[in-house]
């Protein structure tokens, strides 16, 4: 039988979802053989690196125009926020809300959640229960890809509206935004969920690592 003491050492493989016994830093998944703790001395450092890159890329994504419309030689460019406001003024509220949600709300919520979890894993404070934090991470993982909507919309419009009189061209912000989304996805994938609760035992003890076969 499984003792209750062992149960707290069980972790979930992020790749194949198998339950594994936590053997410390050298743990490899017993089923798919992917390493569960790839970064022995760089705990979640990869996550924060990807996250900072994403935040940096998010700044030009908001400054430069996302979409340039050429209408009979007359050029208008709009940024992400400008596009949202324009759509709101034109009265298409649902679309305006979708774009706002996908391009502004989702990335910022994801930045905040990942930053909070990273800082919390480093400097533990018992503000929230571990299951709440894990649900927060799950939320960040689920809503993350939806911020690609704006990039896809610009891609579709740019190839669809290519007429003589009216043209839509993608702006520089498209690249920056795509980069930002790409790196937030990487950040979420590289985050080690077990670090949310493992801090209770301090840094994972080396004695247990060396005892493994």
């Amino acid at each position: 039988m499984i003792k209750m003491d062992d149960v707290s050492n069980l972790i979930r493989c992020p790749l194949c979802e198998a339950v594994n016994y936590d053997r410390g830093m050298q743990t490899r998944c017993r089923r798919c053989h992917s390493s569960l703790y790839a970064y022995k001395y760089f705990k979640n450092e990869k996550t924060i690196a990807f996250l900072i890159t994403a935040i940096i890329a998010y700044i030009p994504a908001n400054i430069y125009p996302m979409m340039i419309t050429k209408n009979f030689g007359h050029e208008t460019s709009s940024t992400i926020i400008g596009g949202v406001i324009l759509l709101w003024e034109h009265g298409s509220y649902p679309i305006s809300l979708i774009i706002f949600f996908a391009s502004i709300f989702v990335p910022i919520v994801k930045f905040v959640i990942l930053l909070y979890l990273f800082i919390n894993a480093r400097y533990p404070k018992e503000e929230m229960s571990n299951s709440t934090k894990k649900s927060m991470f799950y939320l960040a993982e689920i809503i993350g890809p939806w911020s690609m909507i704006d990039v896809f919309v610009v891609a579709i419009l740019a190839s669809l509206i290519h007429l003589q009189s009216i043209q839509i061209i993608a702006g520089d912000a498209a690249t920056a935004f795509a980069l930002s989304v790409f790196f937030t996805l990487l950040a979420a994938q590289s985050f080690d969920i077990s670090s949310i609760e493992k801090h209770k035992r301090g840094i994972r003890d080396e004695s247990r690592d060396s005892n493994t076969k």
Partner: protein, 212 residues
């Protein structure tokens, strides 16, 4: 130390990470997390046959989606249409090669790889052949699955079209409807057959063979 067979009888909720014991379910029953009510696993005896049929069906719709125009617009007599490949080519022609690369991998390459992986996997598991290849495919599938965004692309098409209402006349193409069907089938496959169900089926069907 806990044995692997005992670990196989456990499951961790993907949302709140609560540990559960796997119970033997009857056909059609669903097990949910006691803490957050997320669906953990379900029991379906024909899951491999169903998965094979559905993934072959979605391959057909995927072909239609990639070959035919998604949308066609009509503006003052001049017509334009868009296909998935045309979207990618236009982006790379305008110099947005990173966006083109990302769009290509998210909505063109990864669906093709995922569907072909599903078909070969279900076939291998059904025929109980080539355990090692099946294992490698399951691992590859786990890596590619988060990089599939056909559903988000579908919503993006709708958003783009609503933006165009009033400017141009819009005609939906064949590929739009086949994309819709593809997304629905794919949603069902990923919901009914998450990674741990696939691995469970893999272990169940290959348990006679010895490891390595």
């Amino acid at each position: 130390m806990i044995k692997d067979s005992e670990l196989d009888a456990l499951i961790i909720c993907k949302k709140c990470h609560k540990l559960h014991k796997v119970e033997q379910l009857k056909h059609g029953e669903i097990a949910t997390c006691s803490l957050c009510n997320t669906v953990l696993y379900s029991c379906d005896q024909d899951i491999i046959k169903k998965g094979l049929a559905l993934s072959i069906a979605s391959l057909i719709f995927l072909f239609l989606t990639n070959l035919f125009p998604l949308v066609q617009v009509d503006f003052l007599g001049s017509e334009q249409y868009v296909t998935i490949t045309k979207t990618i080519i236009t982006l790379s022609h305008e110099g947005f090669w990173f966006v083109a690369l990302m769009v290509a991998s998210l909505i063109f390459v990864s669906p093709i790889i995922i569907i072909s992986l599903y078909i070969t996997l279900f076939m291998l598991i059904y025929l109980k052949r080539n355990k090692d290849a099946a294992r490698k495919m399951l691992i590859l599938l786990g890596y590619i699955l988060p990089w599939h965004m056909s559903d988000i692309f579908l919503i993006s098409i709708l958003v783009a079209l609503v933006k165009l209402i009033g400017f141009v006349q819009i005609n939906m193409g064949v590929a739009f409807f086949s994309l819709l069907v593809f997304v629905i089938i794919n949603l069902y496959i990923t919901r009914a057959m998450p990674m741990h169900t696939l691995w469970f089926q893999y272990q169940k069907n290959f348990k006679d063979e010895k490891d390595d």
